[in-house]
Amino acid sequence: MRLDQRLIAEMIQPGTRVLDIGSGDGALLDYLFRTRGCDAQGIEIDMQEVTRSVAHGLPVMHGDADHDLAHYPQHAFDYVVLQRTLQAVERPREVLRQMLRIGRHAIVSFPNFGHWQLRLKLLTSGRMPMTAVWNTPWYETPNIHPCTILDFLMLCREEGYVVEEWMAVDEDGERAPWRRSIRLANLFGEQALFLLRRRGG
């Protein structure tokens, strides 16, 4: 399991109901069930990953964040997790709304487009930046809605979400040391990780 997945797992109370959107190979689901006693289910878009997860005894269904969340009832889960996918969904704001409708908490991670390397590359070369994190050319990237950490915070404010916890991590999932300052995190953090709830929720 990636280190940032471990950080996500640490945000989740034991014995709770969890929906992992984009559960991939099911590593987080497996960890949450075995070590935290959670009732964890997954949604995954890649059918091979779904089959592999179910063959490992993990409850995963084929589906995606844009089309399948609307079918769940309100507060069906304690936590709804979206890992490294927000930038690739069709309607990020709607996906967040759905996550906080069906879950009491949302855990969201996304690659930070405000990272200094991206800013520098765009400034100096005048072309779409390519880095280890943003590594597909503009014409075939699935990342159609990139945002920065500050952008994401603005959206949370507009939508009335409470940020219970946040951190910036590097690509390998190691916690970056700029946790206290949002502005520094926005400059130096490669991946951002947020734990949200609805105001009054």
């Binding site: 779904v50 063959a55 409850p59 009832p73």
Partner: protein, 386 residues
């Protein structure tokens, strides 16, 4: 066409003299259920799996079929060390109500065998539903002293029974695996069933359903019904791969076949499917069971809301569809998955990539085997058994 009437066989059976009150309002008594079991029931009686058979299946799941001499219809899936592992689980398979392999059906004596004549029900057999079938199965499960089934598994019409089990007896079903099925029988599928039935009615040997009086069997009609239905179980890719346009022998050579002889291999295959079927299946059973499938609509039973029967369910579901199945397409499986989502149920949903059509669930599909094995193992871990 050979018109052998299936011989009267001794099947392992349980008889319930008190019978069953059917959904149509008729009280059917006695009710007999023929079944087979595989593996050993644990001391805690917590390792039982009911496997529900499809339209033309029967209880001979994993041992030699007494009429055809062929291996059981799911012997590649159920057995020691196989995905439904009989070293671990106790597997029960029952002939459906309305069937013709030992459970009460149109060929059963109307009087229940006591007093009166041994005249069979025939077309007077009351209409049964999928839920009636499941309620008959529950009588057997109760009789075996099993309070909770570890799992109910089935494909096609068997999958309809799985859904009905989970909806009717939610506390008795820990895990449910509806395969290549749908929460309702579609207009297209009802249409196919109707063609099958009309083929039987059109057979001169049908005799208004009282064919036994004339020592006849509507074999041709039943065979045509089976041939037509068999096409719906396959896919264009599978037919092309297996037969293509291959001819049996050179039809234009020295010894040409008649114009409508078995020219193409696919024709010969279908004719064989049809003629071998009439040896083991009763026409009135075919009519009764296809009708039960047509009636099936889980949503209508619950005011049109498909998620209603599953509200508050604790059953773990694993829905499986096959990419080339056009009889029970993935879109219908997805509809079921979303209904279960609305009920906040625990759902896995897999579409297996296959070119084999609806019948894929009976055939060699390694991804499907892995899915069945994995889902049951995962569920067993949650159920804390074996």
């Amino acid at each position: 066409m050979d018109q052998t009437v299936p011989a009267l066989l001794q099947h392992e059976c349980v008889v319930f003299p008190e019978g069953l009150h059917l959904e149509c309002g008729f009280h059917l008594a006695p009710v007999q259920v023929a079944y087979r079991t595989y593996g050993t029931l644990s001391a805690a009686r917590d390792n039982a799996i009911v496997v529900c058979h499809a339209l033309t299946g029967d209880q001979y799941l994993a041992d030699t079929h007494p009429l055809t001499g062929k291996p059981g219809w799911w012997s590649r899936m159920v057995g020691p060390g196989l995905p439904i592992d009989t070293d671990r689980f106790f597997v029960i398979c029952m002939n459906v109500l309305g069937g013709c392999m030992g459970s009460t059906g149109p060929r059963s004596p109307r009087s229940g065998g006591e007093g009166g004549s041994a005249e069979p029900w025939g077309t007077d057999f009351p209409p049964v539903t999928i839920r009636d079938m499941v309620r008959a199965q529950k009588l057997v499960v109760d009789r075996l002293g099993i309070r909770r089934l570890f799992a109910v598994v089935g494909g096609s019409m068997g999958g309809m029974q799985v859904l009905e089990w989970a909806a009717t007896y939610p506390d008795m079903v820990f895990a449910a695996m509806p395969i290549a099925t749908s929460p309702f029988h579609s207009a297209q599928n009802i249409a196919f069933n109707e063609v099958s039935r009309q083929a039987i009615f059109a057979d001169p040997d049908w005799h208004g359903g009282r064919y036994w009086e004339r020592d006849a069997v509507p074999a041709r009609g039943l065979a045509v019904a089976r041939m037509m239905a068999h096409i719906t179980y396959l896919s264009e890719e599978a037919l092309t791969r297996k037969f293509g346009r291959r001819v049996r022998r050179d039809p234009y050579g020295d010894n040409p076949l008649s114009l409508f002889g078995e020219m193409f291999e696919v024709e010969s295959y279908l004719r064989h499917q049809g003629s071998s079927f009439v040896h083991r299946f009763d026409a009135n059973s075919y009519l009764t069971i296809t009708r039960a499938m047509d009636y099936f609509d889980l949503g209508t039973e619950h005011d049109g809301d498909l998620s209603r029967p599953f509200h508050g369910t604790r059953t773990r579901f694993c829905i499986v569809s096959f990419s080339s199945d056009w009889l029970f397409p993935t879109s219908q499986a997805r509809m079921l998955a979303r209904a279960l989502n609305r009920a906040a149920a625990n759902v896995s949903f897999v579409e297996i990539e296959s070119d084999k059509g609806h019948d894929a669930f009976l055939l060699d599909e390694p991804d499907f085997d892995r899915t069945v094995r994995g889902f049951l193992s995962g569920a067993a871990e949650h159920a804390r058994i074996g």
